[in-house]
Symmetry: C2
Subunit: 151 residues, 2 copies
DNA sequence: ACCACATAAATTGCATGCAATTAAATTGCA
DNA sequence: TGCAATTTAATTGCATGCAATTTATGTGGT
């Protein structure tokens, strides 16, 4: 690549990621508004629908979020009666998150959201899978680098 | 795909994007700390290094950001003496953003950041280009959809 | 048992993002 | 010309993200 092009906005993978993530998230908003939740609350529920009764710590590992983000978010979802937060009797440092019946029930109403969102794009199922797998790989690499740097 | 897998977190392209964007952004932090700027300030400067003397509106189009985000961000950069904000005499509704000499000079110090970041990954230049182009296409599609929906 | 160290959440402070509203300026058209 | 509709920034309010610190709890070694 031309040296002078190295700093061009449209050549940056980081900016492509940053912009794409925000624009795709916006596609979810109309659907999530119907459920009365935000995008971050949605991915948190995705994680919990898959594996319930997890510590905040583990949820954070799964979502790449720390307690500074999760604590207020989980309190919000608790206020919506979608989950409960309780200290782990086995280890009082941990807080265990458990879906309520309402929280579990919301999964049915969310079931069709992914399809409805990606119908709006020209992506094929194969295209989605391929892109998703490339991103997952890069995410793990980037995360490993960040952690290594911190030592 | 299995029906029950439709809501699995690791099958979501949206989550792959969301997580990847944040993790890759974190790789920039150590480098940007040296320059005393944040990631959003960095991409704003990338846009301005490429095309200076633009209205806030156009900068927003370029970055997919609105004045609610840009106004405080540009005021911060103005406080750092990297740019100036002035009303357009031709159209007093617009605010024109202009880099200061210091703002322009910062480009030199930023020149090697993209390489240094992606050295930390296993991505090849071709892999970066390919991924970036897929994301750009999706970004434009998603943005178009959002705008259409708003009408 | 004691204590240094480690671990998990919560808290604090700051910087986004973005919807919604407001204020000022411009435009278009009757 | 006059004025309604439009356009651009700025403002407001709320929800993240995340670094850094604090608080509470657990662990390991002596």
């Amino acid at each position: 690549m031309d040296k002078s092009a190295l700093l061009e906005l449209d050549n940056q993978l980081c900016f492509a990621l940053y912009a794409c993530s925000r624009e795709v998230t916006k596609l979810y908003r109309p659907f999530l508004d119907e459920l009365g939740i935000t995008y971050t609350q949605y991915v948190t529920l995705l994680a919990l629908w898959e594996k319930d009764e997890v510590a905040v710590k583990e949820l954070g590992r799964r979502l790449y979020l720390d307690s500074g983000t999760l604590t207020p978010l989980l309190k919000k979802l608790e206020g919506l009666k979608l989950l409960r937060r309780e200290r782990d009797p086995q280890d009082e440092r941990s807080v265990i998150v458990r879906l309520t019946p309402e929280g579990r029930a919301l999964k049915e109403r969310a079931a069709e959201i992914p399809e409805r969102v990606f119908c709006q794009t020209s992506l094929t199922p194969e295209g989605i899978e391929s892109l998703r797998d490339q991103l997952r790989k890069l995410t793990v690499e980037a995360h490993t680098q960040s952690c290594d740097a911190g030592l």
